[in-house]
Amino acid sequence: MFSLPSFVGVAQLPVDVPREEVFVVDVIITAPVPHNHNFWITGPHPLVTHAIMMETLWIRDQETGERVMGAAISDPMYNDDFTQMSVELRDNIYWSDGVQFTADDLIFTVETLKATPGLNARGWHANLNKSMASVEKTGDFSVTFHLTEPTPRFHSLLEARWGAIYMMPKHVFENIDDLPAYTYTDGPYLGAYLPVEEDPSGVWQLFVRRDDWERSPAGIITGNPGPKYILEINYGGPDRKVIAMSRGELDVYYDSDFESFQSTLETAPAARSWYAGFPWGYMGEVSTRELIFNFGSETQPWFHEKDVRWALALALDIQAVVTDYMGGTAKLTNMPVPTTPALTAIYHDPMEEWFQNLEIEIEEGVMYKPYDATIPDQIAAWAESEGYEVPGDTRAVFGSGWWAHAPDVADRLLMKHGFSRDDGGNWLTPDGNPWELEVLSDTTSVQQFHFGNAAADMWKDFGIDTSLAAHERTLYTSTNETGQFDISGDWFSFTLVDGDAWPVFNIFHPDLVVPVGEDTRTTGGHATRLTDPKIGEFIDAMVSIGPDDPSSFELTTEMLKYWVENMYSIPIVAFNKFVTWDERYWTGFPTFENPSSMPLYWFMGGKLTFQNLKPVDS
């Protein structure tokens, strides 16, 4: 009835700048405080802004895993017992008002944060008070931090994954009395772009490149001017992003799904994602999507039985989850570490043999090997039957092996614990009632919602009375964090991009568990409410080991084996954010063929992604 538009509408951007000079970026959230650039206070600041106008000492590239120098020029240098950390700073970067950045700025920044309780974004004030005794200027461009106790990860406060402590311009801030109330609207800034205009309600913000962009870290690193303007817009849900791109009003977006992405391919001829063809999306963000159990649930006490958890995992047909529900655009992982190239090398590859030999006991003395290494090949075979070409090694594209679809084994595991089937084949719990299960899912995270649907359908097919509870993000989050669920779709990675586990894994410490009904965010714990003391022991042992110490990886591997054996969560896939860009106006975005930097542009490293862009003409 309707045909898709074959023509392209005239771009109707909210600002009056030449279309070929502006790079338009979708940022998924609206910033109600657009002109407030005080990133040291807690506030709903826009996602991308901080990356292009602010600087941190270091940036961790999420694709390569490498440390990129921001305002620093050296790695963090610790003494032997991790009570001192020194750093060398760049001597060639300047604030946008022409004043040079020096050690004084760094010292002013950390001392001010430490002294001002109101400047506690991301816990900086509290963290610095806890771990930093003093800071010493050892030269115009070198600084030494003296720490209160051995802290091998002190630098992580200053190293950005998404964000970290941002440098303050001492020459301006020292004259401001009430810094927490200061809006920092007029700069000066250290990044390569300056805010020039914004929508009063925060839907869009326009940035202009500094004339002296070569005196910023991104300018120095890339040597490329980048677009003259960057426009950040929050268009809304996937539909609207697709429409915006089809109209030529958007150059890059993320958080989409394979169905709306298909529409982009049809309506924006120059659009593409990480791969030029199937399976398109970028699956390298360091996080996994999984199903978690609510160990605090009173209605599902059997979640404490390892066999019940395994039965639920074996009742899933993972090949169908990936193909039927995600169109094959997913990368599997069988443990809570994503299958990115770097982490696969550190964890998945070395553990592969262990997975293949892993056995679970069905009945006394009857062992079963649940791991099926051929799942990626099965998905590749499906893709080829659909007429797609698989771009490379199946394991590199579709991730690790997974657990076989073995409903018969699942049956036996459940029966062993007193579960039974009624005449209709539906499962009864050990106390004889129908087994009701609710899968909680976030409708805003499209990928998570896809497999939430899949799991609910498959467990229903398996005979469990499964329902799906789907909420918008904030409601989902509070439901999840207060433990009002049986099974929930969640996302996390047990390690950072470099393989270090403690900074992200510590939230699973049993000490942080709060009862169902209370919000886990009050302690910083995790919604799954696992109280296994062994997990606490792993975490405690990790604290004092440096992140680059080989024994750190060994310990993490042991912890992962323990987690997988116990099936404490059901990891499904690595993130697929479907970062999609249109090469109508700009080129040079990182791709599978040219993985220059990470395409995750809303992280701190996004500043390099933008700086690397070139107009299509040249």
Binding site: I243, E259, A470
Partner: protein
């Protein structure tokens, strides 16, 4: 006896009122669809039972959805659930409203003043935000039934004011005084003399309530705040949007629930229109004159 009157009334209506003829045919059609839901080969929450996203064909006359459901059978469930939600909501809301309207209208005095103040205070609270808030508070507890209840208890303030005004004016009419002076008891006066005037109002009002309830059901579902596994006009649209039906050019997935919602409400609207015309004492008079 009563059934004879009813039959005669319906026959009259059919003969003289075009809107009744159209309206009742539409409602009959909707009713048949609703009844068909009881003979569906699928369960209402079955998914992945047919190929996904197939356009209408001989096998699937309304196509199939992105969840792998048969569009036609799914629609029959949706009509049933939506009618149930809005019907129950209207019933609950109007019952409260009629009761309050009568209490305040007939009793008057202090009772009237207190209740009216409360009603006025509730009327000024914006309902949609309130509804979204409560739906969010109820979270997973949102079922077809609780949604009906929620909509019902949010939709009585305005109608109760209208009924009160109507009763106040009836009470002052001459025939009320005559009836009471001639020794008729109050209940009889209300039932025999006042109800015929109230019913057209009630009918028109019920249809307005229906419209509101369906609109809210759709709104809440689209925002993901209702029971998404229970098919309804709203959840069908939610899932259609979720699988980007319009973006992907799969018009049939959204066209069916939209058409159904329009048909339902237009049907009720036309029937209520003809009924109130029929029941309105003034137009009844002119009709009788015409018949002679």
């Amino acid at each position: 006896m009563a059934s004879d009157v009813l039959r005669a009334t319906i026959r009259d209506l059919f003969r003289f009122s075009l809107s009744f003829r159209f309206g009742s045919i539409i409602l009959m059609f909707v009713g048949i669809l609703l009844l068909l839901s009881f003979f569906s080969p699928f369960e209402s929450d079955d998914r992945r039972v047919v190929p996904r996203n197939k356009p209408p064909s001989q096998e699937f006359i309304l196509g199939t959805t992105g969840n792998g459901q048969d569009g036609f059978w799914l629609l029959t469930f949706a009509i049933r659930n939506t009618l149930m939600v809005s019907g129950l909501a209207v019933l609950i809301g109007r019952s409260i409203a009629v009761m309050l309207g009568m209490i305040t209208g007939y009793l008057g005095g202090k009772t009237d003043r207190v209740i009216s103040s409360i009603v006025d205070s509730i009327i000024v609270i914006p309902r949609l935000p309130l509804l979204i808030l409560i739906a969010a508070i109820l979270q997973g507890e949102m079922t077809v039934l609780s949604l009906a209840l929620l909509l019902g208890i949010l939709d009585w303030a305005h109608p109760s004011k209208r009924y009160r005004a109507m009763i106040l004016s009836l009470r002052e009419r001459e025939f009320t005084h005559t009836a009471i002076f001639s020794g008729m008891n109050a209940v009889k006066v209300v039932v025999q003399e006042h109800l015929p005037f109230l019913i057209p109002l009630l009918l028109a009002d019920a249809v307005a309530g229906f419209l509101w309830a369906i609109g809210m059901e759709v709104t809440l579902s689209v925002l993901g705040l209702s029971d998404l596994s229970a098919p309804s006009i709203g959840t069908l649209i939610f899932w259609g949007n979720y699988h980007h039906a319009l973006l992907r050019g799969r018009v049939w997935i959204l066209a069916a629930p939209i058409a159904a919602s329009v048909l339902m409400v237009v049907g009720f609207y036309l029937v209520s229109l003809s009924l109130s015309e029929y029941l309105d004492p003034r137009t009844r008079l002119s009709r009788l004159t015409m018949e002679e």
